[in-house]
Structures are given as C-alpha cells and as structure tokens.
Symmetry: C2
Subunit: 235 residues, 2 copies
DNA sequence: TTTTGGCTCGTGGTCAGACCACAGGGTATC
DNA sequence: GATACCCTGTGGTCTGACCACGAGCCAAAA
C-alpha cells in the first residue's frame, strides 16, 4: 500500500540493502546494469541512478564506464570517504560544532591509545616511521598538519578497528580546514610544532610502556591543548 | 579543463558545499529550484537531482513538493538519519564488523558517562523517566530493546554533544537487527533484563555520585557483557 | 461584504528516449 | 601470427515531457 507512495529511488536503495543483508550481493560483486535494474524494479533509469549515486558517495560501490569485468557498479567497502563527506557537510551546514567534533575525537583517540596500551602485541611501525619523518625534515605548516593527520590515523589503524579508523578519519577531515587556518593564530610555530612532536612521542612511549591511563590523558591533553591554542580569540 | 572530466553531479555538490561554507546558504534557507540550479551550473536537471538526493540521504536537506515557503529543498541539519543509513549499509556490506561497532560504542559511551560524571550540573530527567518506564511495565523484548536504545541515547543527549549523539544513534541503528535477533539466544530473558536494568541504575548512580572511572567501567561492562552473552555460539 | 469553490502556477518526482565516451573483445586484414 | 578496426555493452549526461501536490489568487455565490 505504501509502496506507491514510497519514492522510486528508495525502492532501489532498499532492494540493494536487502540483497546485501541476505547475501545475494557480496563485496566484490557487480550490480546489474542500470537499465536492467530499472526494468526489474519497474522504475526509471534516473531513479536507479539516484540510488546508485547515494551508494557511491557513501563508499559502497565504485562505478566505471566501459566493458569488461572492471566496468559497471561494483560493491566495495570504503566507508572513510563517505563518512568524511557526511561529517564535512554537516560541519559546513553548522549542525555540528567544531568543539563537539574535537571532543568526539578525544573520546575516540583516548579509547584507541588505551586499547593499544593494554594490547599484548601491537604494530607501531607506521607510527614510528611518521614520528621520524616529522622530526627529520624542515616541514611547512601544511606538510606538518598532513603528517599529523596521518599519525593519528596510523594509531587508529594499529587498533585494527575499521569503524574507529573510519570515524577518526572522517572527524579529522571534517575539521581539516579549521585546523589549517588555525595555524595562522599560532605566534611561534617552531616552538608549537616542537611541543606537538614531543607530545606525540610521549603518547607513544606511554602506549609502549603499557600505561593506559597515562596515554589516555596525554592524548586528550594533546588534542585539547592544540585546539585551545588555536581558538584563543573567538570572532 | 578538468571541469569536463569532473562529473556533473559533483559540480553541483561542490557548489552547494561551497555556498554552505561561505555563508551563502544558511540552515533554514531554500535552495534554488532544481531547474534553475541546472541552468545556472550548466548541467542537466538529472545531475542536479543526483546531487540533491545525496544531500537528502545525508540529512542536509529536506525536499517537499507543492508551492509556498515550505516547498522546495530546504537546508536542515539532521545528521542522525544520514549517519544511521551510512553505518547500516556498511555493516550490511560487511565492511564493518559488528564487534568493531560495539567497541566503538563502548568508547563513545565511556566518554559520555565520564563527561556526565565530571560535569557540575547535568539534566538526567529523561534518563530517570526511561529507567522508571523500563522497571514499571511488563515489556516485550522488542519494547525493552527500543527503550534501551532510547536510554543510551538519552545519556548521550544529556552530554550536549551533537556529534556524539548522532554517532551513538547511528552505531546503535546499524546493529539494531543484530541486537533484536540476539535476544533469541538468551535463555532466561527475565533474568537478563533484570540484570540489564540493574546495570543501568548502577551506571546512573555512579554518574550522579561523580565517580567517573566507575561509570566508565560499568558502562563498558554493561555493553560488552550483553554482546558477549548474545554471541556465545558463532555460526 | 464575506465566504467558498475552482483555477493557475511553481515546485519536486518520475519516466522515456536519445546521445556520448569509454573499454573490452571479436574479427578481418596484412 | 600480429595488428588494426569495428561492435557491443556499460555508465554519464541531457532533454523533454508528464504527474502530483500545495499555495495563492480570483471570481462566483451567499
């Protein structure tokens, strides 16, 4: 009864979600061609495309033109991009406060470092590699910020939790512009970056010593401290 | 030059995001009509619609037919729905593990209760209301699960952090099906629900006593305990 | 004058058809 | 046997058309 009122693209979306849930569609599979989906579901091709567009932006499918096995719409699982886009847009639309994003990052990263500190084994090779790079070279502000993002992301990835990794990346992305523009308010960048690098190493040390609580507080102070220094003068 | 390679709908999406960022578009504003956007940006109306569909699913706009001030596409900020849809789909596509979702919930809710416990003032009226309801009535499993979701969400809302609230709601939504079907594996539901209710009250007590660490551990055990009891036999 | 009924118009929702660009595979040619 | 060509299937896009809906307007009726 409500099927007639349901919008056509939602029919397509629900169908695909259903096929995903019951295993009809698996990661790596190809979706039927748009034209076929349209006739199968009794909707127009444009409605199918609207649904596919949503799936694409959310990182569920990848589309390619041409022919062959690599063409068409293929189920993938790259949640990071979609999460980033969503959070970025919500920040742009002012439905998310920067402060709330930062506090959420603190919550997630505290859990990350706590988990890492309590783990029996951990692979921090990438983290150490980034620490070295950030110390070695004379970096521009933009390069430093980019590496910093990579470092925090590497910590999340070491945790081997796809959800947390994706969320951290998304949250970071959402406030990327704010972080970059915020560096302008820091009077002595050389000193600030030295302090940030030192805090990074302290966090990693705490993790490797298994000091979970210390790591939690260090990372929280690290993040909050940076944003406090950046938001001194509120416009 | 790359404008020809950039896909048309992305042009629309980028334009709207830009207008959002520089304040040309504000929450509550109406977007130009689809046909006007199409001619303005030099793309087809279908491409405009694909972009608007993405914005709608992400919770950034609300569309309505008809005429008058309430019609058209209006900027809103309801990130919860979009986040839920995204996480739900990623879980369906098996790019998110249930276990990772649960652990992320633990991380966020730990932070929530810690923040509440450390706060000078807090409004837990809704939380207490839900606690009463869950104790008073003889609830079906579905009702109990729904109320439990509301309770956890109420805690997040008491924290006054839009990002965390949206994420918690989304994470909970994503595994809703799993939670409901998991109740079947619990042999003695009456005993289990009594225990869950008791744990809820313990958490709230710890918050109100200002015992931040205790609250953190209680909520973590509460969530992890439930999922451990539900996933005894892995298929 | 006031009310009421229908009319018009602008909006999103949908569909059908057409064309293009692209990539792979098959086929004819050298 | 190797190469160049065309054929086919795919997504990407545009155009035009129609529908449903809702608000505002205007004329006819009370």
């Amino acid at each position: 009864m409500t099927e007639t009122t349901a919008r056509a693209w939602r029919v397509v979306l629900d169908r695909i979600e259903g096929d995903l849930l019951d295993g009809t569609l698996q990661p790596g599979d190809r979706l039927p061609p748009e034209r076929e989906l349209a006739t199968t579901l009794g909707v127009g091709r444009s409605s199918v495309r609207e649904a596919l567009r949503v799936l694409e932006v959310m990182g569920l499918i990848r589309t390619a033109t041409g022919s062959g096995p690599k063409a068409g719409a293929i189920i993938i699982g790259t949640p990071t991009g979609g999460l980033s886009a969503l959070l970025r847009l919500q920040v742009a639309a002012q439905s998310f406060e920067i402060e709330d994003v930062v506090r959420t990052r603190v919550a997630l990263e505290s859990a990350v470092v706590e988990t890492l500190a309590q783990a029996d084994t951990r692979d921090l090779a990438e983290v150490h590699r980034l620490l070295e790079i950030m110390d070695a070279a004379a970096l521009s502000v933009e390069e430093f910020v980019a590496l910093d993002a990579q470092l925090h992301l590497a910590l999340a990835e070491a945790c081997d939790n796809g959800v947390m990794t994706a969320m951290m990346a998304g949250l970071r992305d959402a406030i990327e512009g704010y972080v970059v523009s915020g560096t302008e308010r820091i009077p002595d960048w050389a000193e600030a970056s030295a302090r940030l690098r030192h805090e990074h190493r302290e966090v990693v040390s705490a993790i490797e010593l298994g000091h979970a609580d210390a790591a939690r507080h260090l990372i929280a102070d690290h993040i909050l401290g940076y944003f406090a220094s950046v938001s001194t003068a509120r416009s």
